[in-house]
Symmetry: C2
Amino acid sequence: MIKKLLPIVLLMLLAATANAQTQQVTTLMPMPKSITVVDGKFALTPSFTIAVKTDAADATLYFGVNRALQTLNRRTQLFFKQQRITASDKADSASLLITVRANAGVVIGQDESYSITVSAKQIKLEAPNTTGALHGLETFLQLVQYDDTGYYLPIAKINDSPRFVWRGLMIDVARHFIPLDVIERNIDAMAAVKMNVLHLHLSDDEGFRIESKVFPELQKKGSFGEYFTQSEIKDLIAYAKKRGVMIVPEFDMPGHTTGFLAGYPSLSATPGKTYMPGPRFSPGDKPMGLMDIMKMLSTAPTPTFDPSKESTYLFLNKFLGEMSALFPSPYIHIGADENNGVAWKNNPAIVAFMKDKKIADTHALQAYFVSRVQKILTKHHKHTTGWEELLSKDLPKDVAVQVWQDGTKARSAAGLGHPVIISNGFYLDLFMPAYIHYQNYLFANKLEYALAAKVLGGEAAQWAEAMDKNNAETRMWPRTAAIAERLWSPVEVNDVDDMYRRLAVLSRQLDDIGLQHISEYEKGLRRLNDGGDIIALKTLADVLSPVKGYKKLFAKMTKTPSASYQTAPLATLSDVIMVDSEVKRKFRALVKSYLQSPDHHSYEAINAMLMQWANQYADLQSMPGKAQLNADIMRHAKNMSDAGFVGLEALKKWREKEQPSADWIKQQMAKLQRTKQVYGEAEIAVIPEIEALVNQKLAPEPTSYPMF
Amino acid sequence: MIKKLLPIVLLMLLAATANAQTQQVTTLMPMPKSITVVDGKFALTPSFTIAVKTDAADATLYFGVNRALQTLNRRTQLFFKQQRITASDKADSASLLITVRANAGVVIGQDESYSITVSAKQIKLEAPNTTGALHGLETFLQLVQYDDTGYYLPIAKINDSPRFVWRGLMIDVARHFIPLDVIERNIDAMAAVKMNVLHLHLSDDEGFRIESKVFPELQKKGSFGEYFTQSEIKDLIAYAKKRGVMIVPEFDMPGHTTGFLAGYPSLSATPGKTYMPGPRFSPGDKPMGLMDIMKMLSTAPTPTFDPSKESTYLFLNKFLGEMSALFPSPYIHIGADENNGVAWKNNPAIVAFMKDKKIADTHALQAYFVSRVQKILTKHHKHTTGWEELLSKDLPKDVAVQVWQDGTKARSAAGLGHPVIISNGFYLDLFMPAYIHYQNYLFANKLEYALAAKVLGGEAAQWAEAMDKNNAETRMWPRTAAIAERLWSPVEVNDVDDMYRRLAVLSRQLDDIGLQHISEYEKGLRRLNDGGDIIALKTLADVLSPVKGYKKLFAKMTKTPSASYQTAPLATLSDVIMVDSEVKRKFRALVKSYLQSPDHHSYEAINAMLMQWANQYADLQSMPGKAQLNADIMRHAKNMSDAGFVGLEALKKWREKEQPSADWIKQQMAKLQRTKQVYGEAEIAVIPEIEALVNQKLAPEPTSYPMF
């Protein structure tokens, strides 16, 4: 009467793999420069203590050390007798002895190295400065493992330092406002993977997201009440600093400026026009074609500053002066992207100004504008940075250029002597699997000499058309960790399978320190099912991915215009599902292993997964809950079930060593082809692996995907 | 080969019940004063619009209306064409027409009524003021339902107003600091159930949690960096006000003041002593007996202000002046609880002062202190409130008395003419099931006349010895909603089963608006299993409860002294599990129904639940993951499995109409008795219901539980 629960069998098999992994030191992420592990353990007990030897009184260091102790306490529940580490804790005999030679703030380009030596009796962490020590503490925590005797660290020796000095994450808080607690959790996650720059895109057409005391109409008219106060920003800067992260603010101009113009329309290149924050292009009530959208992007006048009026620069001088005082970052980002110049060409006064100043075209006029703003920032003791469109021949060499669209611009900018930050290949909002970012061609090999000298590093970039506070963490994590490793670890660390293996472990560590990516995903599923249980829905959703590239974004405009207003919370199927299916990665690893050597363990695990997929459709159909009424979900459920049954049949042939006929293969491949259909901007992620079971060869994954 | 998944069958059965419930209007919580529902629907479509008719420009009202629109958008994903409601939206023809007669702030005692009329063509919400309208909007959202034709509201007429004017939640943010985002989510949840007072316990021995600009050593030495800045508090007050919630700050004195004394030791009744924030009584390294603890509570000198020195009042005048200006609340809470007077008796100067002033004993001295502080607050235009110990004969009548320990104090205080707020019976940190609070004897019947005139209402109270940011939301919710209903709804609304039925629906609505109680619970389970899947663990955890009363608190001191330091994150089994098992409530309802009439549906559902419980032990044993190594968890798993098998056997007898023998019953009851064992301060919640299957009678639930 009492039967074993099928999912449990499956989970046991999967977990067995995961557990074997957590036993390995090589779950570290990012991988350090060098690591040696030998047999043996340092055992953790309630008597574990930490001491700090440092000449400098350093609040950041003690904060970091205490934070690490709490993380360890939470994970191990050992209730350490040492409750807090203070300056009086400096005994040589401490379990973890931390030696730091100098205090340090968050400074790009400083020494970030550290070393860790774990012996059976003591752990030593040494670093030239606080920043290195903070990195070392994260590695220390990642080294902690458990077995049935308890928690321990393996005997190991690590020497580590980063490949690039600028390891950033750009979060667009303008298109959808992303609240403070989400940003703070992102900073925690960044620190866990040793990233050091948080770039906040604070203004755009959809909103102006920071308080100005000098120009209060900015937030008043530009934010619908959703913005950071200066007090919050100060606290956030301090929060980030304590975790080794610098905050670089971006105020996008001269285009992408509806957020500014709502409060101060006199800045506009289109005189007399009034503005309300919202998407650059309003799709109207009727669905548009893709071509219409593309045409609109290049020909419609977009909200843009007037670069011909001195009053514009007077405003920017005051505004950027205020922001320069607020942000300690040596860089201020001025955007300067995607200005199509149409608004300028449409304004006779601006055309006359260009003629008068002998400015040949709107590109040159943009260069003029950038040059004026750069001078203002220099006056306020800041370096300018901006997107690749700000590059022009006469641009001062200290301006850092952030390459996003055109990878060749990295060489142009470096050639002109500019520091270069690369986001090309790191756009998280394109819904690409982590391996695509991990294999970014600009980083996958050693950089050529000219570039190496000027490339500071890179930035993952998350634009917020399809991100809001409800799904921000699943959009960015854990994928960002793959980019963090690309920017930190030696170029030789490049095994995709191994990256995914470690990423799965890291994802759970991020969950433990507070990141909401797993919670947010499951909450999204509960919403989709309106209170019904989500077991069957999750089985399906776990193997769905949003469509890649700009397809989701444009689908909104072409299908549901009102969905693109960006005022409704993001809670549809493709908003909720994880971007890079972890179950697909596990399944792919199992299929790969089984095709190489068809062992019992892989067979059982693959079989259990396929059975779940085959069954979830019937389960969803018969379970009350809102998901059942969602046509997109039910179509995917049917397709996943069909594909699951195909997979089971194929696996049976393998098992029984029956060579499938060419006809059978053809039929099954045709069936699987039909399951690749996109519904609700989502697609099933595991079809290539099921195809591999059918035709007995696993196709390599695409190195790129179409954008549209 | 392909078998149905057992849990799915179970969930289908449970969900069928839940779904039938969500179809009923009576899922409203708190229940309104009057409601009439007739057949028919108002259908929601993307063309749904809202208009507001009001004479007063009222930012709070428009904020609330827009917030409701977003909640509706998120739940329905209808992408309403109306993106925002502004003052220009006032068409009589709107789908939801809101008429508000006057603007209003958060004022205790104002008219909070509203009415809603839903017809097939329009919804009308009318209220005398903004506060009533905000309540009405919450009811409007709770009325929204769906079927396979889409979302709709039933045709209905509601008239509503509260039973009590003070419907509060006290959160202790001192013992463990509770961050801003958690507090904000609590305010959202309070608003959803029409509560209007958030009482923040801002200082205690463990910490001082608010920035003072006048006395900055308070937060500097008293918080380990964990406190609210004044800027954050201002934002929080505004956040709460927009949701109809007033924030009442508490600064506990003269005892519970280590948080003060760390920064300003000269305030202390024990001259020369220095202080570090921490528990009043340090348990030391050795486990203590319960008696030792009780003795210590009454005889050890506790950190206390010196009431004999004028400098104390000079300090308090400045400090309370600063806080009175910061908090718009007309009330300031001064605690005044649990001062055992020992520190005063030990200080000869204080003893001399008492003699000099003819103050008979330390009780009278406390009355003297309270009277001085009350005068200071009066000068700063504030009313004083405090815990019941502040009551004395000469206390000015405007002082509100919060009864917590001794219910008879409600009558004493009312008799002396004081406004009364009742927390007795509403202590959430006692880990009682919701029905205990719901049936609070002080509220369950009509109040006697003398009390009715003076009782403002009540407050749920959550002290933070066993709550921190990791489990705050599961400690307080959804149970607080039962208290909210007790304080809002007519006394006649008192059916426990019906309350639990509606509470389960509400819990999911709170999850949808952002509360983290479900997410936090599941994150806690993931932590307990360190990355392993939690299906089997959750099956067990869903039917566990923390031990009731002060047993968990004292177990810490008596068993694991270092666990009581309160510096380690709370992540043990009993910290993670829900306080009032929802699965127990569903199981109990099924068993009750089955005992009354043994139908097939109940049988299937009960059988499936028992099978899950019977099986989870084997699943946990065989699944890798940390939970397997946790002796407490595995002991409960074994017991739950044993109880599950007993239940299955009993159910089989029912099914087969076999009258069990007295011997068999005795044996099974003895087996079940053994499964009631407490491990890890947790116990299995469903044993009484399994006993009912065995002996064919369901015992009524206890009306109270022992505290120790």
